[in-house]
C-alpha cells in the first residue's frame, strides 16, 4: 500500500480472477467467488476505514481517501 495519489491510498486489490492483478503497490487478495469477494472487500474496508470501489465486475479495490 501507500502509493499516495492526491491523498488516496489503494490498500488492497480484491479479485476472483488472479490474471487481472499483478504485484504492485497494494496487497492482492484472491477471492473464491463473488460472495467471498464481497466479504473480504467489506471487512478490509472497515478495517482501514476505507471504501470499496468497483473497477470491473471481478476486480475491486479498497482505497483510503
Amino acid at each position: 500500500m501507500n502509493r499516495s495519489q492526491n491523498g488516496v491510498d489503494i490498500v488492497a486489490v480484491i479479485t476472483t480472477n488472479p490474471d487481472r492483478a499483478q504485484g504492485g503497490g497494494a496487497t492482492v487478495l484472491i477471492a473464491r467467488d463473488r460472495a467471498d469477494m464481497e466479504q473480504i472487500a467489506f471487512r478490509t474496508a472497515k478495517l482501514v476505514k476505507g471504501m470499496v470501489h468497483e473497477l470491473a465486475e471481478d476486480l475491486w479495490i479498497v482505497a483510503v481517501h
Binding site: 464481497e38 472487500a41 467489506f42 474496508a45 472497515k46 476505514k49 476505507g50 471504501m51 470499496v52 470501489h53 468497483e54 475491486w60 479495490i61 483510503v64 481517501h65
Partner: protein
Amino acid sequence: MGLPLLIGTLLGSLARFSALRVDYRQYPSYPQGYVIHTALGILGAFLGTAGPLALALGDFTAASFLAVAASQFREIRDVERQTLQALEQTELVPRGTGYIEGIARVFEARNYLAMAAGLLFSLGYLAGEALAAGPLAALGERWSGLLVGIPLSLVAWVRLERYTRGPRVADLADVVPAPIEFDGPMLTVAGVAVMNVGWGPARERYLKEGLAAEIRPRSAAAKATLANLGQRQAIAHDVMALIGSQHDVDEPEFTPLIRRRADGTLVLAILPAERDVDAFLAAIRQVPVLEGSVRKPLQSPVGRYLKGERPE
C-alpha cells in the same frame, strides 16, 4: 466627557452583542465565546468612542490608540481561525479552510462594527455640541450632542450589520431536487458521476434513503463562485450540520461530495438522518456565499468580450 464616553461605549457594546447569535454553527454559542467577544466588543466600542473625544480635547496621542485597537482586532481573526482549525479534525464533514477564513473575517468585522458605532456616536456628539452654539441652542450642549450622536450611531449599527450579512446560495443559484441513479457502481446525479460505490448495500441505502439536488447557477459570475472548492465544502458541511448525517468515520462512501458539470451546475448526493426534501433544499439555499470565493469575471475587461461587447 464622562457621559458621551459612557453612552458611546454602551451603544457600541450593544451593537456587538446583538451580532452574537446562537445558531447551528454552534460557535460561539457557548458561554466562553460570549464572554470573549463581548469583552472585546466593549473594548472596541470604548476605543472608538474615546478617539474623537480625545482629539476634541487636544490630546492627539490618545487618538493613536485607534491604531493599536485595529492591530488587536486583527488578532481576533487569528484566534478564530486557530480555534476552528483545531476543531476541524473532530468534524465528520470538515468546514474547509475557505469557510473557516470566512467565519474568522466575520468576527473581526463585527468588532469594527462595535468600534464604528462608538466612533460615530462621539463624532455626532461633538457635532451636536458645536451646533448648540447655533441652531440647537435651545437644547444646551449636552442634549444637542446626544440628539445628533445617538441616531448617527444607530444608523451606523443597522446599516453595517445589514451590509455585512452577505448573500446566500439562493441568491446565486436555483436549487432543485434530483434523482440518485447508479451506472454500474457509479453514483450518478443528473448525469454527473459523483463517486464509485463498490459496496452493494451502500448503493441500496443511497437509492432508498438518499437525497440529491442540483444547484444551477443563474449567471456566469455565480458559476465561477460556486465552482470554488471552499464554497463547495461549506455547502457540504452546512447541509450535514443542519439536517444530520448517517455516516461514520469508517463509511467514507457516505461522505457528501459536490461535483460539477461542464455547464457549471453542481450536484450533491447525501444520506440524511431525516429524509425531508424541503429541509434539504432549504439547507443548501441558506449556505452563506464565502467572501473568498466570490468571482465576478464579467466585470473585467476580458469579461466584456465574453458578454459579446467589442471595444472600439
